[in-house]
Symmetry: C2
Subunit: 95 residues, 2 copies
């Protein structure tokens, strides 16, 4: 594994390396229709600005995409990135 590959992949793992972000990500992923508005998932024990901050981090890492529809902002998971991470873990597991 090259240094550049590691840099890219580590950014994704790092994005999930926080309990709050992991719960937010899981909440979006398991929500009906694969998308959720912020108001539905902001009960994770931290203040609302902190939720927004973490969602921004997840978006920067490429794990989520956001879209504004009227008053609310909806977040959706990016399946391709998820598959890449899963494959990265599956290879050593098979060996």
């Amino acid at each position: 594994m090259s240094a550049a590959e590691a840099e890219t992949a580590a950014r994704m793992f790092k994005a999930l390396g926080d309990p709050v972000r992991l719960r937010l990500f899981s909440a979006v992923a398991s929500h009906e229709g694969g998308e959720a508005c912020v108001c539905d998932i902001s009960d994770v024990g931290v203040s609302q600005p902190t939720v927004s901050h973490h969602l921004k981090k997840l978006k920067e890492a490429g794990l989520l995409t956001s879209e504004r529809r009227g008053t609310w902002v909806y977040y959706r998971v990016e399946p391709s990135v998820l598959a890449a991470m899963g494959q990265l873990l599956a290879i050593p597991a098979a060996a």
Copy 2:
């Protein structure tokens, strides 16, 4: 996903959220026999104490186990933890 579950899982993702650790982990996993001694994988661009520090972090996260055999210390991946992480990513990918 509960707060306790997120805490545990986030520790594993966080452990892989560093390029150096990701390369070390990948090197151990892809090494012959599923195990590697530190001297075989310590060419990742950082000093040797730093390598030891990161290996300790991976061990604390439950991703690696270490065993001393004579002069050398061998590290090995923990397959069960790997499978748990993969499942955590596979569930949202399928939905």
